[in-house]
Symmetry: C2
Subunit: 490 residues, 2 copies
């Protein structure tokens, strides 16, 4: 489409920056069908001339829309419209919960179900990932791949150095490359830690057959995958009540005998989204010292904060070497690459390295080299900046669609890629009926109950907003708003 054919009217007297106004106009043109799927946009130069703004303003607007998933920008070719209007965005239903009209007015279910929109948590946006920094990193790694050795069992020195730098900058934790262990993602990290805790618990060097079970306390509700991994490597799990203040330290301290380790998500509790206060972090460390226990700090999502700075990692408060910090590149890069790390020092670090030595390296040397390049070149930092902006926009869409519904409370909004929707439900009911109704209408969401070991009366939905496009998210939110407003559900 030619630049002058686009319906763009800018208000130069407005307080809204011109780039934001331009982005809004383009978003409307796409949603209104004026710009169609796969259509090429005008060059930044042509559009800048046509609407009389600087070229930088157009670049900023395109960049914003690419970040939001509306546009696809590729070096050396025209920027194109990425979203496709499968059907119109459903109009939000009447929000009056006392009226039965909304349910009655619902159109009959179509014969072919609409394409599934997946709001299951844990999937990041990767639309901006394949950029020149990413491909250059892999090219260098592949060129150097003709090697006849395995990567070191704890990871290459290049990647461990890059991760130590990253953790220092992103989380304020001063650590040496020798404190870093490269793993095939968070699950591989937790398997390593589970086996190391078992070895420490047995007081053995691991050479005896595993008769010692590690007793590991976990948050409830918590991360089901973590429970699966730890159980599979022989751990006995002890679920501890967890709410919007984080793990219940009194319940943890009352466990007899004391567990050998506790797995926590202090920066953004999974799934509740709460953050553990600094006092609780210090108390947790105090308990760990007294109980001679290991603190496993799963630091997932700490890169994505919208309102407040993240609290320092528990590991930064630790003076006794009892914290194993776990991080991964699943959210900041892509879960497709299966790469993460553990940071730990002292005896705990030694025990972890012994496990890794016994089990051998799991992460391809090619991938380690590529990731080391990507981190060292600043590619990761730039990608995090891009997706953070994208998530902030999506989060605003969620608040706009669901934030004002009666009987609904949003939580975990300060960070991450997902939000918890607490719902007032009639006594005893959980959110499974709502999950099933959403699925019937083509929207996959998770129930808070899926994360719990014991039913502690916390009901609601968990919505991931990382992976869908804005249009998909808007469609899904309209469906959910309608269901949450309907009297049949609550």
């Amino acid at each position: 489409m030619n630049a002058h054919e686009l319906p763009i009217l800018l208000d130069r007297a407005s307080e809204l920056p011109l780039a934001a106004q331009l982005a809004t106009a383009l978003r409307r043109a796409i949603l209104g069908g004026i710009l169609q799927h796969d259509e090429a946009l005008p060059s930044t130069r042509a559009l800048a001339t046509s609407v009389r703004v600087s070229r930088g303003t157009v670049v900023a607007a395109y960049d914003q829309l690419a970040g939001e998933g509306y546009l696809l920008a590729r070096p050396g070719s025209a920027t194109r419209v990425m979203v496709e209007r499968h059907d119109a965005v459903p109009a939000p239903a009447a929000r009056n919960p006392t009226s039965a009209a909304s349910a009655a007015a619902r159109p009959p279910r179509p014969v072919t179900p609409p394409p599934l929109i997946d709001l299951a948590p844990g999937h990041p946006s990767t639309r901006t990932l394949v950029d020149p920094a990413w491909t250059a990193a892999w090219r260098a790694a592949v060129a150097a791949s003709g090697r006849s050795d395995s990567p070191p069992s704890s990871g290459t020195i290049d990647l461990r150095t890059a991760i130590a730098d990253h953790v220092r900058r992103a989380r304020g934790l001063a650590c040496r490359p020798d404190d870093v262990i490269v793993t095939a993602g968070t699950s591989d990290a937790l398997a390593t830690i589970g086996l190391a805790v078992a070895a420490l618990a047995g007081g053995a060097d691991g050479s005896e057959a595993g008769t010692h079970s590690a007793r590991i306390a976990v948050e409830d509700p918590g991360y089901p995958t973590a429970r699966r991994v730890l159980r599979r490597v022989g751990a006995l799990l002890l679920p501890v009540r967890t709410d919007s203040d984080g793990i219940d330290l009194a319940e943890l301290a009352a466990l007899t005998p004391a567990p050998h380790a506790v797995l926590v998500t202090p920066s953004h509790q999974y799934p509740l989204g709460s953050s553990l206060s600094v006092q609780s972090r210090l108390d947790l460390l105090g308990w760990a010292r007294a109980a001679d226990a290991v603190v496993i700090e799963d630091d997932y999502d700490s890169e994505f904060r919208f309102e407040t700075m993240p609290l320092p990692a528990v590991a930064t408060l630790d003076r006794s070497g009892r914290v194993a910090l776990v991080g991964s590149f699943s959210k900041t890069v892509t879960p497709w690459i299966r790469c993460g790390y553990i940071v730990a020092s002292g005896d705990l670090g030694e025990a972890l390295r012994a496990v890794r030595h016994d089990l051998d390296a799991t992460v391809s040397g090619v991938q380690q080299a590529a990731l080391a390049h990507y981190l060292a070149s600043g590619g990761l930092a730039r990608n995090v900046t891009r997706v953070r902006r994208e998530y902030a926009h999506r989060r605003a869409l969620v608040i706009g669609a669901l934030g004002a519904l009666p009987g609904v409370r949003l939580a975990g909004l300060d960070g991450g890629l997902h939000v918890v929707v607490h719902i007032d439900l009639p006594g005893g009911a959980d959110a499974s009926a709502l999950v099933a109704q959403a699925a019937e209408r083509g929207v996959r969401v998770a129930s808070l109950a899926d994360y719990a070991v014991l039913d502690r009366g916390q009901h609601g939905l968990v919505l991931g907003y990382g992976a869908p496009t804005d249009l998909e998210l808007a469609r899904a939110l309209a469906v959910l708003a309608e269901l949450l407003a309907a009297p049949s559900t609550h």
Copy 2:
């Protein structure tokens, strides 16, 4: 160097092919210092014209020498000499074991030790790996890496399909992609199997804390890394005497209670190099059926055979779904990529997939896609052909240098990347003194004792010839020949 300056004389009446004669002449020119390190060779066209052979003959000779590590051929630039003569190849010492002259005549140890030549087994040649097929495979994989999901826990369908094809072609085992589980190399495969055997042994679904130890019989001598991995995931290991006929089936059958599994290397026993007869394979399966045990078949090195075709994998003889075949790309591609697989069906396959599901995928989706491309495009098959030729040449060097020494017997020559040097040693002595003497002179070799759990009187060295260049190997063999001939060692 110009083509006509090279000292090449071809005997057109000889039965030796012209390409082989040309390769020999060029090898001599390099070893004799006529062609120096990094020097460009004439183009294939110029040399063909100069010595009056077809260009294809020159290409074949260059290809052979590149495979042997003498030359480096890169698309779009001149072929160059790759080897560097750090010093002259030491002259073989007097081989008369009754003379003390050789030890006395040994020059004083140099102040700076010579660069270490590593003949530790397990390192393949990767000089020919980074070719256009390899880089194209990765380029395609990286271009498709912007995904927000993890790879499936058992591997991508593309890679499982390519592996099923590969196993069918290379090992004659008819298997479906659904029978394939992708792992981060052999160690990750063995950890998966160890945990699955424990779950099957306990009759549990793995949800209980690991109180059941899997009892697993292993070959002795055998693969130390396998023992380390299996022990670390809680298995109790039962070493079974193994010799040039393979594992002692009578000793295996006498174990009470019967083990839950046995780990064997039937195609090329590690480290002894022997092959299990077809009758023994059938007997092993009969025992497994009677004992309700799993056979773990580590099929390493089966691609590299020099004299006879490999026997069919035990898995091909199995009708009861009790064999888990383990393979890896560490030798056929490079251990740098940490990628392997398990092939298993039925209940065993289900138990393995359940473990992988619990532990999550360990292999990067980028790498899985790259490897799937590389296998499907025929890149792997071509690389195996190239390195097989290289290994056959090196194996001839080993036989030439050590095969005729008194008191020395070479074994395991029919396949693989390593050879066992059995030595008659005075009663009670093992080969550790010899290993230490070799190390002092800059050659790293392994002792057969390093592979054994119990001392069963098998003494000798294990030499890997995959990774060193021909020149390095020749130097190292000269050192070893001198040590083996000296009366101080035996």
